[in-house]
Subunit: 291 residues, 2 copies
Protein backbone atom coordinates (compact mmCIF):
# COMPACT_ATOMS: atom_id res chain seq x y z
CA UNK A 1 0.00 0.00 0.00
CA UNK A 2 1.54 3.29 -1.07
CA UNK A 3 1.46 6.19 1.40
CA UNK A 4 -0.77 7.95 -1.14
CA UNK A 5 -3.34 5.15 -0.79
CA UNK A 6 -2.93 3.12 -3.99
CA UNK A 7 -2.69 -0.64 -3.65
CA UNK A 8 -0.06 -2.33 -5.82
CA UNK A 9 1.10 -5.86 -6.48
CA UNK A 10 4.79 -5.89 -7.41
CA UNK A 11 6.92 -8.68 -8.86
CA UNK A 12 5.87 -11.87 -10.60
CA UNK A 13 4.88 -15.35 -9.49
CA UNK A 14 7.01 -16.90 -12.22
CA UNK A 15 10.70 -17.81 -12.13
CA UNK A 16 11.57 -14.68 -14.12
CA UNK A 17 10.07 -11.34 -15.06
CA UNK A 18 11.47 -8.04 -16.35
CA UNK A 19 8.43 -5.87 -17.06
CA UNK A 20 9.03 -2.33 -15.77
CA UNK A 21 11.25 -1.30 -12.88
CA UNK A 22 11.97 -3.75 -10.06
CA UNK A 23 9.72 -2.24 -7.39
CA UNK A 24 9.94 -5.38 -5.24
CA UNK A 25 13.68 -5.06 -4.66
CA UNK A 26 13.37 -1.34 -4.10
CA UNK A 27 10.79 -1.88 -1.36
CA UNK A 28 12.74 -4.77 0.23
CA UNK A 29 15.14 -3.24 2.72
CA UNK A 30 13.47 0.17 2.57
CA UNK A 31 12.71 -0.16 6.30
CA UNK A 32 9.05 0.82 6.01
CA UNK A 33 9.83 4.19 4.44
CA UNK A 34 8.31 3.53 0.98
CA UNK A 35 5.22 1.37 1.39
CA UNK A 36 3.28 -0.83 3.77
CA UNK A 37 3.58 -4.51 2.86
CA UNK A 38 0.40 -6.48 3.54
CA UNK A 39 1.18 -9.73 1.76
CA UNK A 40 4.34 -11.53 0.63
CA UNK A 41 4.67 -14.58 -1.62
CA UNK A 42 7.90 -16.48 -1.08
CA UNK A 43 9.65 -18.90 -3.41
CA UNK A 44 10.42 -22.23 -1.77
CA UNK A 45 13.24 -24.57 -2.67
CA UNK A 46 13.16 -28.33 -2.05
CA UNK A 47 14.21 -29.23 1.48
CA UNK A 48 17.49 -31.18 1.40
CA UNK A 49 17.17 -34.73 2.72
CA UNK A 50 20.36 -34.63 4.82
CA UNK A 51 22.44 -32.20 6.81
CA UNK A 52 25.55 -32.38 8.92
CA UNK A 53 26.91 -30.02 11.57
CA UNK A 54 30.63 -29.61 12.18
CA UNK A 55 32.60 -27.72 14.83
CA UNK A 56 36.27 -26.79 14.51
CA UNK A 57 38.44 -24.94 17.01
CA UNK A 58 41.60 -23.04 16.06
CA UNK A 59 44.48 -21.54 17.98
CA UNK A 60 44.12 -18.25 16.10
CA UNK A 61 41.67 -16.27 14.03
CA UNK A 62 43.78 -16.24 10.87
CA UNK A 63 43.60 -20.06 10.70
CA UNK A 64 39.84 -20.05 11.14
CA UNK A 65 39.24 -17.35 8.52
CA UNK A 66 41.66 -18.96 6.09
CA UNK A 67 39.88 -22.27 6.55
CA UNK A 68 36.53 -20.78 5.46
CA UNK A 69 38.15 -19.41 2.30
CA UNK A 70 39.85 -22.76 1.63
CA UNK A 71 36.57 -24.64 1.99
CA UNK A 72 34.76 -22.38 -0.45
CA UNK A 73 37.71 -22.44 -2.86
CA UNK A 74 37.36 -26.23 -2.93
CA UNK A 75 33.82 -25.84 -4.25
CA UNK A 76 32.09 -26.72 -0.98
CA UNK A 77 29.55 -24.05 -0.03
CA UNK A 78 28.41 -24.63 3.57
CA UNK A 79 24.83 -23.48 4.34
CA UNK A 80 26.24 -22.03 7.56
CA UNK A 81 29.78 -21.07 8.62
CA UNK A 82 29.49 -19.33 11.96
CA UNK A 83 32.51 -17.75 13.58
CA UNK A 84 33.17 -17.02 17.28
CA UNK A 85 36.21 -15.19 18.62
CA UNK A 86 38.15 -15.88 21.82
CA UNK A 87 36.14 -13.54 24.04
CA UNK A 88 32.84 -15.01 22.81
CA UNK A 89 34.09 -18.55 23.43
CA UNK A 90 35.20 -17.67 26.97
CA UNK A 91 31.82 -16.09 27.79
CA UNK A 92 29.93 -19.20 26.66
CA UNK A 93 32.42 -21.53 28.35
CA UNK A 94 31.50 -20.02 31.73
CA UNK A 95 27.83 -20.84 31.16
CA UNK A 96 27.70 -24.29 29.63
CA UNK A 97 29.87 -27.34 29.73
CA UNK A 98 31.64 -27.35 26.37
CA UNK A 99 34.31 -29.79 25.29
CA UNK A 100 36.49 -27.21 23.55
CA UNK A 101 40.18 -27.27 24.59
CA UNK A 102 41.47 -24.19 26.42
CA UNK A 103 43.87 -23.10 23.65
CA UNK A 104 40.93 -22.48 21.29
CA UNK A 105 40.89 -18.81 20.26
CA UNK A 106 38.50 -19.10 17.32
CA UNK A 107 35.60 -21.42 16.55
CA UNK A 108 33.90 -22.33 13.29
CA UNK A 109 30.48 -23.96 13.37
CA UNK A 110 29.52 -25.23 9.94
CA UNK A 111 26.59 -26.97 8.33
CA UNK A 112 26.33 -28.69 4.96
CA UNK A 113 23.21 -30.16 3.39
CA UNK A 114 22.07 -32.03 0.28
CA UNK A 115 21.49 -35.69 -0.49
CA UNK A 116 23.18 -38.36 1.64
CA UNK A 117 26.18 -38.74 -0.66
CA UNK A 118 26.95 -35.05 -1.18
CA UNK A 119 26.47 -34.25 2.50
CA UNK A 120 28.90 -36.93 3.61
CA UNK A 121 31.42 -36.00 0.91
CA UNK A 122 31.26 -32.27 1.75
CA UNK A 123 31.48 -32.93 5.50
CA UNK A 124 34.54 -35.18 5.04
CA UNK A 125 36.20 -32.59 2.82
CA UNK A 126 35.59 -29.84 5.40
CA UNK A 127 36.96 -31.95 8.26
CA UNK A 128 40.04 -32.73 6.16
CA UNK A 129 40.63 -29.05 5.35
CA UNK A 130 40.18 -28.09 9.02
CA UNK A 131 42.80 -30.64 10.09
CA UNK A 132 45.22 -29.52 7.37
CA UNK A 133 44.76 -25.90 8.51
CA UNK A 134 45.86 -26.90 12.00
CA UNK A 135 42.55 -27.08 13.85
CA UNK A 136 43.17 -27.93 17.52
CA UNK A 137 39.75 -29.52 17.86
CA UNK A 138 37.29 -31.03 15.36
CA UNK A 139 33.84 -32.42 16.13
CA UNK A 140 31.05 -33.73 13.95
CA UNK A 141 27.42 -33.94 15.03
CA UNK A 142 26.31 -37.33 13.71
CA UNK A 143 22.81 -37.24 15.16
CA UNK A 144 20.25 -34.40 15.29
CA UNK A 145 20.78 -34.27 19.07
CA UNK A 146 24.55 -33.93 18.73
CA UNK A 147 24.11 -31.24 16.08
CA UNK A 148 21.79 -29.35 18.45
CA UNK A 149 24.46 -29.45 21.17
CA UNK A 150 27.01 -27.97 18.80
CA UNK A 151 24.62 -25.16 17.82
CA UNK A 152 23.95 -24.45 21.51
CA UNK A 153 27.41 -22.83 21.75
CA UNK A 154 26.50 -20.32 19.07
CA UNK A 155 22.97 -19.75 20.32
CA UNK A 156 24.17 -18.82 23.80
CA UNK A 157 26.76 -16.27 22.76
CA UNK A 158 24.55 -13.20 22.23
CA UNK A 159 23.28 -13.42 25.82
CA UNK A 160 26.53 -14.69 27.36
CA UNK A 161 28.55 -11.60 26.38
CA UNK A 162 26.25 -9.47 28.57
CA UNK A 163 28.31 -10.58 31.57
CA UNK A 164 31.15 -8.37 30.25
CA UNK A 165 29.15 -5.14 30.57
CA UNK A 166 25.46 -4.31 31.11
CA UNK A 167 25.04 -2.60 27.72
CA UNK A 168 25.86 -3.56 24.18
CA UNK A 169 26.09 -1.83 20.82
CA UNK A 170 25.85 -4.52 18.18
CA UNK A 171 27.04 -3.72 14.67
CA UNK A 172 26.60 -6.14 11.78
CA UNK A 173 29.44 -5.09 9.53
CA UNK A 174 30.55 -7.07 6.49
CA UNK A 175 33.99 -7.26 4.88
CA UNK A 176 35.21 -9.28 1.89
CA UNK A 177 35.89 -12.78 3.21
CA UNK A 178 39.66 -12.42 2.72
CA UNK A 179 39.68 -9.32 4.97
CA UNK A 180 38.14 -11.00 8.01
CA UNK A 181 41.49 -11.49 9.71
CA UNK A 182 42.34 -7.80 9.25
CA UNK A 183 38.97 -6.87 10.79
CA UNK A 184 39.34 -9.15 13.82
CA UNK A 185 42.93 -7.94 14.34
CA UNK A 186 41.63 -4.39 14.31
CA UNK A 187 39.05 -5.22 16.99
CA UNK A 188 41.89 -6.22 19.32
CA UNK A 189 43.51 -2.81 18.71
CA UNK A 190 40.16 -1.06 19.35
CA UNK A 191 39.76 -2.88 22.67
CA UNK A 192 43.25 -1.82 23.70
CA UNK A 193 42.78 1.78 22.62
CA UNK A 194 39.33 2.40 24.13
CA UNK A 195 39.34 -0.05 27.05
CA UNK A 196 36.02 -1.69 26.13
CA UNK A 197 35.52 -5.43 25.54
CA UNK A 198 34.49 -6.13 21.92
CA UNK A 199 33.52 -9.80 21.42
CA UNK A 200 32.79 -10.74 17.80
CA UNK A 201 30.89 -13.59 16.20
CA UNK A 202 28.84 -14.09 13.07
CA UNK A 203 28.52 -15.43 9.57
CA UNK A 204 32.08 -16.10 8.44
CA UNK A 205 30.94 -17.52 5.10
CA UNK A 206 29.56 -14.08 4.22
CA UNK A 207 32.27 -12.04 5.95
CA UNK A 208 29.39 -10.71 8.11
CA UNK A 209 30.65 -10.23 11.66
CA UNK A 210 28.55 -9.09 14.58
CA UNK A 211 30.82 -6.75 16.49
CA UNK A 212 29.60 -6.16 20.04
CA UNK A 213 30.85 -3.04 21.77
CA UNK A 214 30.22 -3.68 25.48
CA UNK A 215 29.89 -0.72 27.84
CA UNK A 216 28.17 0.55 30.95
CA UNK A 217 25.56 3.21 30.20
CA UNK A 218 25.88 4.53 33.76
CA UNK A 219 29.59 5.10 33.32
CA UNK A 220 29.83 8.42 31.44
CA UNK A 221 33.47 7.83 30.46
CA UNK A 222 32.56 4.52 28.79
CA UNK A 223 29.34 5.83 27.25
CA UNK A 224 31.12 8.81 25.72
CA UNK A 225 33.70 6.56 24.08
CA UNK A 226 31.20 4.41 22.15
CA UNK A 227 30.63 6.85 19.26
CA UNK A 228 34.38 7.03 18.64
CA UNK A 229 34.62 3.23 18.68
CA UNK A 230 31.73 2.87 16.20
CA UNK A 231 33.17 5.53 13.91
CA UNK A 232 36.64 3.96 14.03
CA UNK A 233 35.16 0.50 13.35
CA UNK A 234 33.13 1.73 10.35
CA UNK A 235 36.15 3.57 8.89
CA UNK A 236 38.18 0.38 9.06
CA UNK A 237 35.36 -1.72 7.58
CA UNK A 238 34.91 0.66 4.64
CA UNK A 239 38.68 0.84 4.16
CA UNK A 240 38.68 -2.97 3.86
CA UNK A 241 36.04 -2.76 1.10
CA UNK A 242 33.13 -3.62 3.38
CA UNK A 243 29.74 -2.25 4.37
CA UNK A 244 28.44 -0.97 7.71
CA UNK A 245 25.33 -3.18 7.67
CA UNK A 246 24.87 -6.65 6.22
CA UNK A 247 21.41 -7.44 7.53
CA UNK A 248 19.94 -5.00 10.00
CA UNK A 249 19.84 -1.74 8.07
CA UNK A 250 20.13 1.89 9.12
CA UNK A 251 17.04 2.83 11.15
CA UNK A 252 17.72 5.66 13.60
CA UNK A 253 21.00 4.65 15.22
CA UNK A 254 23.06 4.27 12.03
CA UNK A 255 21.63 7.30 10.23
CA UNK A 256 24.46 9.57 11.46
CA UNK A 257 27.03 7.19 9.93
CA UNK A 258 25.34 6.51 6.59
CA UNK A 259 27.25 9.20 4.70
CA UNK A 260 30.51 7.43 5.63
CA UNK A 261 29.47 4.72 3.13
CA UNK A 262 27.00 6.27 0.68
CA UNK A 263 28.14 9.33 -1.27
CA UNK A 264 26.02 12.47 -1.02
CA UNK A 265 24.64 12.32 -4.61
CA UNK A 266 23.36 8.77 -3.96
CA UNK A 267 21.73 9.81 -0.67
CA UNK A 268 20.09 12.77 -2.43
CA UNK A 269 18.79 10.40 -5.13
CA UNK A 270 17.39 8.07 -2.46
CA UNK A 271 15.61 11.02 -0.84
CA UNK A 272 14.07 11.91 -4.24
CA UNK A 273 12.90 8.28 -4.61
CA UNK A 274 11.40 8.46 -1.12
CA UNK A 275 9.51 11.61 -2.21
CA UNK A 276 8.27 9.87 -5.39
CA UNK A 277 6.66 7.23 -3.15
CA UNK A 278 5.77 9.40 -0.17
CA UNK A 279 5.40 13.09 -1.04
CA UNK A 280 4.02 13.92 2.44
CA UNK A 281 6.73 12.00 4.31
CA UNK A 282 4.25 10.04 6.44
CA UNK A 283 5.93 6.60 6.37
CA UNK A 284 8.52 6.02 9.12
CA UNK A 285 9.71 9.62 9.23
CA UNK A 286 13.27 10.11 10.49
CA UNK A 287 14.40 6.61 9.55
CA UNK A 288 17.46 6.00 7.31
CA UNK A 289 17.96 9.67 6.37
CA UNK A 290 19.01 12.35 8.84
CA UNK A 291 16.36 15.03 8.58
CA UNK B 1 26.29 8.16 -14.39
CA UNK B 2 23.02 9.91 -13.62
CA UNK B 3 21.42 11.95 -16.41
CA UNK B 4 21.99 14.97 -14.17
CA UNK B 5 25.74 14.33 -14.27
CA UNK B 6 26.53 12.84 -10.87
CA UNK B 7 28.68 9.71 -10.78
CA UNK B 8 27.56 7.01 -8.34
CA UNK B 9 28.77 3.62 -7.24
CA UNK B 10 25.84 1.45 -6.17
CA UNK B 11 25.81 -1.87 -4.34
CA UNK B 12 28.52 -3.54 -2.28
CA UNK B 13 31.48 -5.78 -3.03
CA UNK B 14 30.66 -7.99 -0.07
CA UNK B 15 28.31 -10.98 0.07
CA UNK B 16 25.61 -8.85 1.72
CA UNK B 17 24.71 -5.21 2.25
CA UNK B 18 21.53 -3.33 3.19
CA UNK B 19 22.59 0.30 3.54
CA UNK B 20 19.99 2.55 1.91
CA UNK B 21 17.72 1.69 -1.02
CA UNK B 22 18.77 -0.99 -3.50
CA UNK B 23 19.72 1.26 -6.42
CA UNK B 24 21.55 -1.57 -8.19
CA UNK B 25 18.43 -3.68 -8.67
CA UNK B 26 16.41 -0.64 -9.65
CA UNK B 27 18.89 0.22 -12.41
CA UNK B 28 19.19 -3.43 -13.58
CA UNK B 29 16.42 -3.97 -16.13
CA UNK B 30 15.65 -0.26 -16.43
CA UNK B 31 16.60 -0.48 -20.13
CA UNK B 32 18.88 2.56 -20.08
CA UNK B 33 16.15 4.90 -18.88
CA UNK B 34 17.61 5.71 -15.43
CA UNK B 35 21.39 5.87 -15.71
CA UNK B 36 24.38 5.08 -17.91
CA UNK B 37 26.34 2.11 -16.58
CA UNK B 38 30.09 2.46 -17.15
CA UNK B 39 31.41 -0.37 -14.99
CA UNK B 40 29.98 -3.57 -13.54
CA UNK B 41 31.50 -5.93 -10.95
CA UNK B 42 30.13 -9.46 -11.16
CA UNK B 43 30.14 -12.15 -8.52
CA UNK B 44 31.62 -15.41 -9.76
CA UNK B 45 30.79 -18.88 -8.51
CA UNK B 46 33.19 -21.84 -8.71
CA UNK B 47 33.03 -23.58 -12.08
CA UNK B 48 31.64 -27.11 -11.67
CA UNK B 49 34.11 -29.83 -12.59
CA UNK B 50 31.62 -31.94 -14.57
CA UNK B 51 28.56 -31.56 -16.75
CA UNK B 52 26.30 -33.85 -18.69
CA UNK B 53 23.87 -33.13 -21.52
CA UNK B 54 20.70 -35.17 -22.02
CA UNK B 55 18.09 -35.19 -24.77
CA UNK B 56 14.61 -36.69 -24.40
CA UNK B 57 11.85 -36.87 -27.01
CA UNK B 58 8.16 -37.19 -26.15
CA UNK B 59 5.03 -38.00 -28.11
CA UNK B 60 3.24 -35.00 -26.61
CA UNK B 61 3.89 -31.70 -24.87
CA UNK B 62 2.09 -32.63 -21.66
CA UNK B 63 4.54 -35.50 -21.07
CA UNK B 64 7.54 -33.22 -21.66
CA UNK B 65 6.26 -30.44 -19.38
CA UNK B 66 5.23 -32.93 -16.69
CA UNK B 67 8.69 -34.47 -16.85
CA UNK B 68 10.39 -31.14 -16.07
CA UNK B 69 8.15 -30.69 -13.02
CA UNK B 70 8.84 -34.29 -11.93
CA UNK B 71 12.59 -33.79 -12.20
CA UNK B 72 12.54 -30.63 -10.10
CA UNK B 73 10.17 -32.24 -7.58
CA UNK B 74 12.78 -34.97 -7.11
CA UNK B 75 15.27 -32.33 -5.99
CA UNK B 76 17.29 -32.32 -9.22
CA UNK B 77 17.69 -28.79 -10.55
CA UNK B 78 19.09 -28.93 -14.10
CA UNK B 79 21.22 -25.95 -15.13
CA UNK B 80 19.35 -26.03 -18.44
CA UNK B 81 16.03 -27.57 -19.45
CA UNK B 82 15.30 -26.40 -22.98
CA UNK B 83 12.00 -27.20 -24.63
CA UNK B 84 11.16 -27.45 -28.35
CA UNK B 85 7.70 -28.03 -29.77
CA UNK B 86 6.70 -30.11 -32.79
CA UNK B 87 6.94 -27.30 -35.34
CA UNK B 88 10.41 -26.27 -34.08
CA UNK B 89 11.61 -29.89 -34.26
CA UNK B 90 10.33 -30.28 -37.84
CA UNK B 91 12.05 -27.06 -38.96
CA UNK B 92 15.41 -28.20 -37.57
CA UNK B 93 14.94 -31.75 -38.90
CA UNK B 94 14.85 -30.37 -42.45
CA UNK B 95 18.22 -28.70 -41.93
CA UNK B 96 20.40 -31.14 -40.05
CA UNK B 97 20.54 -34.88 -39.71
CA UNK B 98 19.05 -35.59 -36.31
CA UNK B 99 18.39 -39.02 -34.86
CA UNK B 100 15.03 -38.13 -33.32
CA UNK B 101 12.21 -40.57 -34.22
CA UNK B 102 9.36 -39.16 -36.32
CA UNK B 103 6.70 -39.48 -33.60
CA UNK B 104 8.54 -36.93 -31.42
CA UNK B 105 6.29 -33.92 -30.80
CA UNK B 106 8.24 -32.34 -27.94
CA UNK B 107 11.92 -32.29 -27.07
CA UNK B 108 13.71 -31.61 -23.80
CA UNK B 109 17.40 -30.78 -23.83
CA UNK B 110 18.82 -30.80 -20.33
CA UNK B 111 22.13 -30.19 -18.65
CA UNK B 112 23.27 -30.99 -15.13
CA UNK B 113 26.57 -30.06 -13.52
CA UNK B 114 28.50 -30.46 -10.28
CA UNK B 115 31.17 -32.86 -9.14
CA UNK B 116 31.56 -36.24 -10.90
CA UNK B 117 29.34 -38.14 -8.45
CA UNK B 118 26.46 -35.67 -8.30
CA UNK B 119 26.47 -35.16 -12.06
CA UNK B 120 26.24 -38.87 -12.77
CA UNK B 121 23.57 -39.39 -10.11
CA UNK B 122 21.46 -36.46 -11.35
CA UNK B 123 21.82 -37.54 -14.99
CA UNK B 124 20.77 -41.11 -14.17
CA UNK B 125 17.81 -39.86 -12.18
CA UNK B 126 16.69 -37.62 -15.07
CA UNK B 127 16.99 -40.44 -17.62
CA UNK B 128 14.98 -42.71 -15.33
CA UNK B 129 12.23 -40.09 -14.88
CA UNK B 130 12.12 -39.48 -18.67
CA UNK B 131 11.65 -43.20 -19.35
CA UNK B 132 8.97 -43.50 -16.66
CA UNK B 133 7.14 -40.52 -18.20
CA UNK B 134 7.01 -42.39 -21.52
CA UNK B 135 9.80 -40.70 -23.47
CA UNK B 136 9.98 -42.15 -27.01
CA UNK B 137 13.67 -41.31 -27.27
CA UNK B 138 16.44 -40.72 -24.74
CA UNK B 139 20.03 -39.77 -25.50
CA UNK B 140 22.98 -38.85 -23.31
CA UNK B 141 26.00 -36.90 -24.52
CA UNK B 142 28.89 -38.72 -22.87
CA UNK B 143 31.67 -36.66 -24.46
CA UNK B 144 31.94 -32.90 -24.99
CA UNK B 145 31.59 -33.54 -28.75
CA UNK B 146 28.38 -35.54 -28.31
CA UNK B 147 26.99 -32.87 -25.97
CA UNK B 148 27.76 -30.24 -28.63
CA UNK B 149 25.81 -32.24 -31.21
CA UNK B 150 22.79 -32.40 -28.93
CA UNK B 151 22.93 -28.63 -28.35
CA UNK B 152 23.16 -28.07 -32.12
CA UNK B 153 19.44 -28.94 -32.40
CA UNK B 154 18.52 -26.13 -30.04
CA UNK B 155 21.00 -23.66 -31.48
CA UNK B 156 19.61 -24.05 -34.99
CA UNK B 157 15.96 -23.52 -34.15
CA UNK B 158 15.79 -19.72 -34.04
CA UNK B 159 17.07 -19.50 -37.62
CA UNK B 160 15.34 -22.66 -38.88
CA UNK B 161 11.82 -21.39 -38.18
CA UNK B 162 12.41 -18.56 -40.68
CA UNK B 163 11.56 -21.02 -43.45
CA UNK B 164 7.92 -20.90 -42.28
CA UNK B 165 7.51 -17.17 -43.05
CA UNK B 166 9.96 -14.32 -43.80
CA UNK B 167 9.10 -12.35 -40.65
CA UNK B 168 8.93 -13.22 -36.98
CA UNK B 169 7.58 -11.61 -33.83
CA UNK B 170 9.32 -13.30 -30.94
CA UNK B 171 7.77 -13.00 -27.48
CA UNK B 172 9.49 -14.29 -24.36
CA UNK B 173 6.52 -14.98 -22.14
CA UNK B 174 6.75 -16.86 -18.84
CA UNK B 175 4.11 -18.94 -17.09
CA UNK B 176 4.28 -20.92 -13.84
CA UNK B 177 5.93 -24.22 -14.74
CA UNK B 178 2.73 -26.21 -14.12
CA UNK B 179 0.88 -24.05 -16.70
CA UNK B 180 3.25 -24.76 -19.60
CA UNK B 181 0.94 -27.39 -21.09
CA UNK B 182 -2.00 -24.96 -21.00
CA UNK B 183 0.14 -22.35 -22.78
CA UNK B 184 1.36 -24.69 -25.52
CA UNK B 185 -2.21 -26.00 -26.03
CA UNK B 186 -3.35 -22.42 -26.44
CA UNK B 187 -0.70 -21.79 -29.10
CA UNK B 188 -2.27 -24.59 -31.20
CA UNK B 189 -5.66 -22.84 -30.93
CA UNK B 190 -4.06 -19.49 -31.88
CA UNK B 191 -2.49 -21.03 -34.99
CA UNK B 192 -5.87 -22.47 -35.99
CA UNK B 193 -7.76 -19.23 -35.36
CA UNK B 194 -5.35 -16.79 -37.04
CA UNK B 195 -3.76 -19.05 -39.68
CA UNK B 196 -0.16 -18.19 -38.71
CA UNK B 197 2.51 -20.74 -37.74
CA UNK B 198 3.62 -20.26 -34.10
CA UNK B 199 6.62 -22.47 -33.24
CA UNK B 200 7.63 -22.36 -29.58
CA UNK B 201 10.81 -23.24 -27.76
CA UNK B 202 12.62 -22.04 -24.68
CA UNK B 203 13.59 -22.49 -21.07
CA UNK B 204 11.17 -25.08 -19.72
CA UNK B 205 12.79 -25.13 -16.29
CA UNK B 206 11.75 -21.50 -15.85
CA UNK B 207 8.40 -21.74 -17.70
CA UNK B 208 9.96 -19.18 -20.08
CA UNK B 209 8.80 -19.96 -23.62
CA UNK B 210 9.86 -18.11 -26.74
CA UNK B 211 6.70 -17.89 -28.81
CA UNK B 212 7.44 -17.08 -32.44
CA UNK B 213 4.59 -15.58 -34.44
CA UNK B 214 5.60 -16.12 -38.08
CA UNK B 215 4.13 -13.86 -40.78
CA UNK B 216 4.84 -12.15 -44.07
CA UNK B 217 5.23 -8.40 -43.71
CA UNK B 218 4.30 -7.93 -47.40
CA UNK B 219 1.01 -9.73 -46.87
CA UNK B 220 -1.29 -7.07 -45.33
CA UNK B 221 -3.84 -9.66 -44.15
CA UNK B 222 -1.16 -11.50 -42.17
CA UNK B 223 0.53 -8.34 -40.93
CA UNK B 224 -2.74 -6.94 -39.64
CA UNK B 225 -3.46 -10.09 -37.67
CA UNK B 226 -0.24 -10.03 -35.64
CA UNK B 227 -1.37 -7.45 -33.06
CA UNK B 228 -4.47 -9.53 -32.29
CA UNK B 229 -2.33 -12.67 -31.91
CA UNK B 230 0.08 -10.90 -29.54
CA UNK B 231 -2.77 -9.44 -27.49
CA UNK B 232 -4.55 -12.81 -27.30
CA UNK B 233 -1.28 -14.52 -26.30
CA UNK B 234 -0.54 -11.99 -23.54
CA UNK B 235 -4.10 -12.23 -22.17
CA UNK B 236 -3.74 -16.00 -21.91
CA UNK B 237 -0.28 -15.75 -20.32
CA UNK B 238 -1.49 -13.28 -17.70
CA UNK B 239 -4.60 -15.39 -17.07
CA UNK B 240 -2.27 -18.34 -16.36
CA UNK B 241 -0.41 -16.24 -13.75
CA UNK B 242 2.49 -15.37 -16.03
CA UNK B 243 4.36 -12.34 -17.30
CA UNK B 244 4.74 -10.92 -20.82
CA UNK B 245 8.54 -10.74 -20.65
CA UNK B 246 10.97 -13.01 -18.85
CA UNK B 247 14.24 -11.65 -20.21
CA UNK B 248 13.99 -9.12 -22.99
CA UNK B 249 12.00 -6.30 -21.42
CA UNK B 250 9.58 -3.74 -22.85
CA UNK B 251 11.52 -1.35 -25.11
CA UNK B 252 9.37 0.17 -27.84
CA UNK B 253 7.44 -2.81 -29.20
CA UNK B 254 5.93 -4.01 -25.91
CA UNK B 255 5.14 -0.56 -24.50
CA UNK B 256 1.56 -0.66 -25.87
CA UNK B 257 0.93 -3.92 -23.98
CA UNK B 258 2.57 -3.03 -20.66
CA UNK B 259 -0.67 -1.90 -19.01
CA UNK B 260 -2.12 -5.39 -19.59
CA UNK B 261 0.27 -6.59 -16.86
CA UNK B 262 1.17 -3.58 -14.70
CA UNK B 263 -1.67 -1.67 -13.06
CA UNK B 264 -1.91 2.07 -13.72
CA UNK B 265 -0.87 3.19 -10.21
CA UNK B 266 2.34 1.13 -10.51
CA UNK B 267 3.11 2.57 -13.96
CA UNK B 268 2.51 6.09 -12.60
CA UNK B 269 4.89 5.35 -9.71
CA UNK B 270 7.54 4.08 -12.15
CA UNK B 271 7.18 7.29 -14.17
CA UNK B 272 7.74 9.30 -10.95
CA UNK B 273 10.87 7.23 -10.23
CA UNK B 274 12.07 7.90 -13.77
CA UNK B 275 11.60 11.66 -13.11
CA UNK B 276 13.52 11.41 -9.81
CA UNK B 277 16.50 10.07 -11.80
CA UNK B 278 15.98 11.97 -15.03
CA UNK B 279 13.98 15.18 -14.60
CA UNK B 280 14.70 16.29 -18.20
CA UNK B 281 13.79 12.91 -19.73
CA UNK B 282 17.02 12.68 -21.74
CA UNK B 283 17.82 8.96 -21.22
CA UNK B 284 16.26 6.61 -23.79
CA UNK B 285 13.10 8.69 -24.24
CA UNK B 286 10.04 6.73 -25.41
CA UNK B 287 11.24 3.41 -24.04
CA UNK B 288 9.12 1.32 -21.63
CA UNK B 289 6.44 3.99 -21.09
CA UNK B 290 4.06 5.17 -23.81
CA UNK B 291 4.53 8.90 -23.98
Amino acid sequence: VLPTGEILKTGVETAKGVVGYDLTRLIIGSEGTLAVITSITLRLIPKPSHKRTLLAGFADVAQAAGTVSDIIRHGVVPTAAEFMDRLSIECVREEIDISIPSGTHALLLMEVDGDALTTKKDADRILEICRQSGAVHVESGATAKEAENLWEVRRRVSEAVMKLRPNKISEDVVVPRNQMVALVDHLARLQGKYGLPIPAFGHAGDGNIHVNIMYDRNNPAERNRTDAVVRNLFMKVLHLGGTISGEHGIGLTKAPYMEMEIARPAIDLMIRLKKAFDPEGILNPGKIFLS
